[in-house]
Symmetry: D2
Subunit: 393 residues, 4 copies
């Protein structure tokens, strides 16, 4: 698809830190591997003029800019990809949607429930005008996890009873690691909870196609102050979190996350147990899915390691021959591919802002439960389930 004026879709990205780099890399790569509508990497936006100019040159953007408001007003911009920090999501996204731009926003949707709700409202209005919006839970497009979703949806696990999801990292293991904006509640919203439990909660809901109805949770900060620019400063977000989630369909999920699990580098692990089968996954080996078919003769049952690199696997027809693995970064490549196809097709992307809000509601309930000593918090209205299938073929 092209823009209304029959030219390639013009793309602007806002932010060039870690996520900005990852998104830029995906914009640079996606057409190499997939048939997508024509698009152009027009502008990269950031606050520091010199730094953003250098980043734009490096990551393949034609121009750079420092004022995102000017950029979203441009006629040659059709898509706005928001990689700025969470506290800016709502303001930029609502403005861009109001300007008729398709919006992709990094997760989490926003830092507060109010902001998240406002974004959903904006997305709903825009949707009626054919303007698309998507929140970047990129791990849905890891081929192995997309295959997991497919196996579950196809009934290969029977009725799901239990999910065990955890996300363990160790970059805060050193108690002398310095203070950053990620460790202040006013800038980060929360700690491990919003940053990585959000992925785990999204996976639980997405894999099962189900929603959380009640939670019990606990947050904990192991290192309560860290060296700041002007001496010791209190850490006001969690280092680790634990929760149990009751699902509408009767399953129970546990989620636990940590930034101090020494030796675990990026271990998003998911285990799903059903009446007829089971699955396990670890993001440190993202090309592998382990699957047990419980309906086979017991003599030969076992978790099989599927190397998810066959052309028959989700997204893999765009890549290399079997056995040639792809990296973490291509979850973003697949996300952008699908977003572009949604725009071309005139269909709504998934995860929608409503799904992003649904995750935020669960996280907020975990925080509330923790403050109440673990008491069960019921979700007032079910968090939004995700029912739109991915473009995985």
């Amino acid at each position: 698809m092209t823009s209304p004026n029959n030219r390639p879709l013009g793309v602007a990205a806002i932010g060039y830190a870690f996520m900005g780099r990852a998104h830029s890399n995906a914009w640079r790569s996606v057409a190499n591997h997939f048939d997508v509508p024509a698009y152009e990497q027009k502008v990269l936006v950031g606050r520091d003029a010199q730094a953003v100019a250098a980043a734009a040159a490096k990551y393949g953007w034609s121009e750079s800019a420092t004022d995102w408001r000017e950029v979203i007003a441009r006629d040659d911009i059709d898509i706005v990809d928001i990689c700025a920090p969470g506290w800016l999501h709502a303001e930029i996204a609502t403005a861009a949607l109001a300007a008729g731009k398709h919006v992709l926003v990094e997760k989490p949707l926003a830092n507060t429930m109010d902001e998240s709700a406002a974004m959903v409202t904006a997305a709903q209005s825009a949707r009626e005008l054919g303007v698309r919006s998507m929140v970047g839970f990129n791990y849905r497009r890891i081929p192995a996890l997309a295959l997991a979703r497919k196996l579950i949806a196809d009934g290969g696990l029977g009725t799901i009873r239990q999910v065990r999801a955890s996300y363990l990292q160790d970059w805060l293991s050193d108690p002398e690691a310095p203070m950053t904006w990620r460790l202040r509640k006013e800038t980060a919203g929360s700690g491990a909870l919003g940053d990585i439990a959000s992925h785990a909660v999204d996976q639980v809901q997405h894999l099962l196609g189900d929603t959380v109805t009640a939670v019990s949770g606990k947050l904990h900060t192991f290192t309560s102050q860290r060296p700041g620019p002007e001496g010791p400063e209190p850490v006001t977000v969690d280092d680790a979190a634990w929760a149990t989630l009751e699902m509408a369909g009767g399953a129970v999920a546990s989620v636990d996350v940590s930034r101090v699990a020494l030796g675990q580098k990026n271990a998003l692990r998911v285990e799903v147990y059903g009446t007829d089968g089971a699955l396990t996954f670890n993001l440190e080996n993202p090309n592998e899915l382990f699957y047990l078919n419980g309906t086979e003769p017991i003599e030969v049952q076992g978790f099989r390691r599927i190397l998810v690199t066959e052309p028959e696997h989700p997204y893999l027809s765009g890549w290399w021959p079997q056995g040639h693995v792809i990296g973490w970064e291509h979850s973003f490549t697949h996300q952008i591919r699908d977003f572009l196809l949604n725009i071309a097709d005139g269909t709504d992307p998934s995860p929608s802002f409503e799904e992003g809000l649904g995750v935020q509601q669960v996280l907020a309930a975990i925080e509330e439960s923790s403050a109440a000593g673990g008491a069960t918090i019921k979700l007032a209205e079910p968090a939004n389930a995700n029912s739109t299938p991915l473009h995985t073929s």
Copy 2:
């Protein structure tokens, strides 16, 4: 050591089901591999005269009997090994201790807190008279877990922050699996909680040498009725349980257990994360311990697989050359070896009945928290820490 009369220690075992078989096997094997005081497998006790006679013959006991009271009154019996179901533990153990017999009792200590407390009282009185008592948390004597305890105690992990302990099985995965005494609260006390979470909780306390001070927990039964002898019957115990445990030393542990985790056969997994190192273990590969030394250069850091079969490893000097692995059952062999050595040395075995009671207190608090919707339950007085080192050399 011999008995007061200078003859080999006379042993009686009560029970010949799964645990009775496992203990009998250990009594039959221990002297083959370790230097222990002389003992004789005198009597195996059970309710069915014919069946217990057959079992006694098969497992190497000289005689069989049906009345445990008569057996514990015999002068030629010095040790009573209780493998009967949990609801019989208190009655037999207190009688045997009162009769001056050394007592080994399978875990859990008892089905109720009152019974457990009575057993502790009996053990304390007997201890003053030189009569020994021990509760059978046999996994402490898996060499890999004994090594884990040693590495932690030696400071190899620094300060412990997090423990993740889970015990997953799948023998109740089939919703048509029939009703048994293990699924009725009146006979079993609890379900997965007492049966397998007890092991997990004991490991958490034992590995860290620390005690639980507060818990939040949840129990769940996925299959609420099962086919009984006279039609469908309600299941009155839990299929799965989840908990977070606050430790006196500041660490946080999570415990989750299940009997419906399809494909997981006997997966007691333990992960311990400290400031300087980390450990992981899985009972399905009991001869392996994974250890990360976080003080090494980052370039070569990683979890190493230690095949715990070297003569330098706990209990291994009694076994085969390096690389020749031993089975699950020898956790019992090592338990009996140490129990015999304690008797000979005149020292108190570990885990003591007090330690068994400490585990029961934690389990009771988890149950109480679950009934209260996850609310945090503080333990009135700290559960008893385990400080006695194992005989592992």
Copy 3:
């Protein structure tokens, strides 16, 4: 079965070093777990009267003796289990068979081809009189390998094309490790070749039910002299060996073994690739078999880890509930169980002495090829295939 005189079978074992301990342990355990004919551990034989008496007491033998000739002449001895060093196998085995005793002999069958041939002749004569003989390739009775054999025999792998078998250890990795009888050709026959390649070659032939027809091989000694009691002494056997084996059925197998593969403790690894499936195994995790079913949809194909602990698995009905693993030593327990059943049934045990000779022929050909710089050596007459199914139910 009982002996002709209707009493339990009387057993004598010769040797109490590593293999003697392992066999004794199996004799001590087998009736605990399996229904076998009645037998008695009568005599343990060794050269040092005091040491053998201590060993006999420890390992459950009623008596000890120093003269094996006297022992095999006793009327109350029905079975002779030969765990003495290889250079004594032929003399003892032929004498025992001539005396009408059933004989189990540790592998390798003998140190020389002439001795091996003489033993086969003796076994054939004895067989006509109902006297049984067996050579101890115990790994055939590791449940996972017995299952592998079954899956292959049942056609689950289609036509086998390739086998990769290796056996890696590291106990000679240290160049200062001292000289032993195992490193002198006159006492050991060969090094890694006879000791561990013999297991690998036996597995190749047994798993495939096929025989080697031609070999190319290479032996190498990395440390050519080692500290002996009187100063440096030349090592006259191989530290490592490599070979390719052509099978009668068209498959090609590779075998490589080493005693200096640092970090590999007891890694007998076997990989079998067929047209329809594949298998892998590692003796360091002996309860696991990895199996790929190549006829399934490619989307879900992968090597599955079968935890070989279900009652449906070979030998497992005698053991613990699922997921409770057994140790290396029980390959011997199963071997003795089957040997006893063969005696009771009046059937011939497998592996027979002919099968042991077949392995020796392959090893001799590898040695000959190595001496000839790798030239292909055809086996004059096919090494004996093994066609007798195991008692695995």
Copy 4:
């Protein structure tokens, strides 16, 4: 660096099949991640005008062309990247070098020894004029293998004794898979030997910094004819190969490769055993290196899994935060980065054409040995060792 005319280096690539795609992807990505001299993706060359034009557009080349001779004559082309089939390597490379263009050529260097030798001569002449040449053994730049090389070079393994290298695939497992040019000797030169054993041999020589002095080998074709366009056609190359390699420094390496190892998708596995340490690697998990430090206390020795994603690891400073793995394709990205840096620095790339020839000599000797029934073939003059360190920082 810029070209002599102070403009970005102009790049032409020849070929757009699998390897052309992989190289194009690397040219498209490298500047996103690394600081490299300015360059432009000028021309993609192929035989089919329409197809190559489409490929050029897709992979980011400014133009396409069908006549490589015209392209290498252009003044605006400084670098020629040859991804054409092996039988064209010599002609194109020698012409490009004669025209003063820097040349990167995919492995293997050429299909015949004569062609390879001619290429070396051309490279040597060009080198004197400052024209650079490199052969594409891309796996040297997998970070985990670059780390392996570094650990060995730094002495972390002591003296190397044994290497076990294998490369297993299964894309010819199906006997009905059709005939292709890769299965005809006249077009492919050889089968698995040249295609994948070349990688294994290069790794053996590169990791050890050593050269092969003698080989014994065996080639085998399991499926001797396959469906061709005009009926069954004979397969004239090997499906699998096995070899032992003697190294100048005293180590012994084994190499075995297969295209019919069902279930193995792209399993280049390398194991290196030294006197003080050991390493293992598998290309199916390319971000992991397993390392054992044999000088640590035996109690804690074991193979550690290093997740090679830290900024301290080779090439990783250009990528994502720790734990975020990269894909197979970036071995090419790193290769082009280093090639560009060599051009800028005026240093010679590694692997040189001489190193490529060295690998070809080993492969030819394996083929010769196989034809001679496994007889040892000594290499007339040592294959060229690789001593140039990689740019890995």
